[in-house]
């Protein structure tokens, strides 16, 4: 037993090393005064200063965050409605078809989604920029939200709704006081999945940006043609630390909420069961 455990631990350490080593490597060299990622010459904060001095880069970071937050929030709201509709479906055939169509959108390659959006937007005459990026991000996040929320709905016992109805709850009451609280973990999970998808999406965004509007992934990619400058390392370090802070903060909020007696099953880290 002990041996087995030790092996497991070693395995875990290796996995984490593989996952985190490139990030740590990148962070380490963001302080290199040498200007390359080959030899470490000396400590400098020059690249961090560059990041804060580069207004265009900061605007791009803000754009990226706004798109991620707005698109995943809106997509989650749409996803809730979609999941409810699919769940409510009586006809099994139609229900399965809808689910499959939803899944097709998830496995569909990003490049194809991006190219189709480009064609759609230019046909309809939507100017490429903030709204085109927002719309396409909402679009590819909705199926993700749906698939994160549906399992919670299916887990919910139908008698819960029946009981509420028997006790005289209106349709709206059932929705807001029974169903939504029950699927809340799924909703958060959907939101966070959509958030990460939106933050790192390159392929779709690449096609639908325009008019001086850009997000971080697109910007870094086009800068990479001349070799990535260490200021990108610095920026990545900042973003990484920011996400770590978010995760830690989220963890403490959840722990506090749990301790206050409000039991939220499987709500920790927003992972659905």
């Amino acid at each position: 037993m002990v041996n087995k455990n030790r092996f497991g631990n070693i395995y875990l350490v290796i996995v984490f090393l593989v996952l985190y080593a490139p990030i740590l490597y990148l962070m380490y060299y963001s302080f290199n005064s040498g200007g390359t990622m080959h030899e470490f010459e000396g400590f400098t904060l020059q690249y961090y200063k560059e990041v804060f001095a580069d207004t265009r880069l900061i605007i791009i970071v803000i754009n990226t965050l706004v798109i991620a937050l707005l698109s995943s929030a809106l997509a989650t709201i749409i996803g809730i409605m979609g999941a409810l509709a699919i769940h409510q479906m009586q006809n099994r055939r139609v229900k399965n078809t809808l689910l499959s169509l939803n899944n097709v959108l998830i496995v569909n390659p990003d490049v194809i989604i991006g190219a189709s959006f480009l064609i759609l937007f230019t046909m309809v005459g939507i100017k490429l920029g903030f709204y085109s990026v927002l719309l396409s991000h909402i679009a590819f996040s909705v199926p993700i939200a749906v698939i994160m929320i549906l399992p919670r709905l299916q887990e919910m016992s139908p008698s819960l709704v029946d009981a509420a109805r028997d006790l005289g709850a209106s349709r709206l009451d059932v929705l807001t006081k029974v169903i939504l609280p029950f699927i809340k973990p799924g909703i958060y999970a959907g939101f966070f999945m959509a958030l990460t998808y939106s933050l790192d999406d390159f392929a779709v965004t690449f096609f639908v940006t325009g008019s001086g509007y850009s997000t971080l992934s697109v910007e870094i990619y086009s800068r990479a043609r001349q070799g990535v400058s260490l200021s990108i390392n610095a920026l990545s370090t900042l973003i990484f630390l920011f996400t770590v802070l978010l995760v830690v903060g989220y963890y403490f909020i959840m722990r506090k909420a749990n301790r206050n007696g409000k039991k939220e099953p499987a709500a920790e880290m927003g992972v659905p069961r």
Binding site: R56, I62, L65, L69, L118, L180, K184, S211
Partner: protein
């Protein structure tokens, strides 16, 4: 329910707050006024200080956007949707844009600084009389090599690549025009040759190169050469300067038989809305001191002869990037060979690649 509403409301409030900050930053930079110019350029292909200077001198705010390949740029401009006032295609993309009527002709009376550009680089086959474009940077195709590992091989001729000592130690860029052209050049033919016999000869010669070729690769060739994964490689001069920045043991040479001369050019796409500002920008970029500063920052060769005089000697005197006239005379620009000939080139190149193991 209440907490859900609260969470989502706060997300929206945060987003709108951030949008406000972005808008404020934009306006503090003057991006939102009407007096703007949208520039579409390769990533990291201009000295940002110059954009600021242009803004100060003319009061026109530059919105700067980047692309990473001619194809990506073409798609964006073809589809419309955004209005770019200035773009920087390579010469073959420029020819394509011309064919598809995506460009506005330049008004030469608004470009007095055109006189600073070396006449060698004007009026070329891809744009006669510079009706649509002015050259931005230029370069060559040549050989990057590691002098220590290739002792005794003379790269002054393309034939050096065929030296048996290079066995399994050569990298090639994945471009049909580049590699076929190099083979044609080594046979003293033009790299725009369309004579079938000559092309077959070039292919046969290429097939003899196969044992030396380690791989035919894309952009990663820069990293592989800089890390000394191979002793030599055929690359563009722009890539070569980057590779040598990373690893100063390496050297670059353009063989005597001649080679390709490539250009990136400034054009005004048809979708431009600030044509006047675009002309001002193009004229500004041709100002000798501006072009010199830009060339120093980007590291490519400037076609501006008066700017070249302003460059430090160790840059302008570098024959690898500003080759002497006996070599420049032999450099050729790719002609647009037409769809069928291009397909034939690709086919021959593919045959060669299949010959590799």
């Amino acid at each position: 329910m209440k907490s859900l509403v609260r969470v989502f409301l706060s997300i929206f409030i945060i987003s709108f707050g951030l949008m406000g900050v972005a808008a404020w930053l934009n306006s503090s930079q003057g991006y939102s006024g009407g007096n703007t110019l949208t520039v579409y350029n390769w990533g990291d292909y201009i000295d940002p200080e110059l954009l600021e200077r242009f803004q100060k001198e003319t009061g026109i705010t530059v919105i700067y956007q980047t692309f990473d390949s001619n194809e990506a740029m073409l798609t964006k401009i073809e589809q419309g949707g955004t209005s770019f006032d200035v773009a920087v295609p390579s010469e073959y993309a420029l020819a394509k844009m011309k064919q598809e009527h995506l460009l506005l002709p330049l008004d030469h009376s608004k470009l007095p600084n055109l006189k600073h550009v070396d006449s060698h680089y004007l009026n070329l086959s891809f744009d006669p009389n510079n009706q649509y474009s002015v050259p931005y940077f230029w370069g060559t195709v040549g050989i990057v090599f590691n002098p220590e590992l290739t002792k005794g091989i003379d790269f002054h001729s393309w034939d050096g690549l065929w030296d048996p000592k290079l066995r399994n130690n050569l990298l090639l860029v994945d471009g049909a025009r580049e590699i076929m052209g190099m083979s044609l050049n080594s046979l003293h033919y033009s790299l725009n040759d369309t004579n079938e016999a000559h092309l077959q000869q070039a292919l046969t010669k290429l097939e003899k190169l196969a044992p030396n070729v380690k791989a035919v690769v894309g952009d990663e060739i820069k990293m592989l050469l800089a890390n000394e994964e191979a002793a030599a490689g055929v690359v563009w001069s722009g890539d070569a300067s980057e590779i040598m920045d990373e690893n100063d043991k390496l050297d670059y040479i353009v063989p005597d038989e001649g080679s390709n001369l490539w250009f990136d050019n400034i054009v005004i796409p048809k979708t431009a809305t600030h044509v006047d500002a675009a002309h001002k920008f193009i004229n500004f970029m041709m100002q000798p001191d501006v072009a010199a500063q830009n060339a120093e920052f980007v590291g490519y060769s400037t076609p501006n002869k008066d700017a070249k005089k302003l460059l430090p000697k160790d840059i302008s005197g570098d024959e690898r990037f500003y080759p002497p006239s006996d070599i420049t005379d032999k450099l050729e620009v790719y002609d647009n060979l037409g769809k069928r000939m291009l397909a034939h080139y690709n086919e021959l190149f593919l045959q060669f690649k299949m010959h590799l193991k």
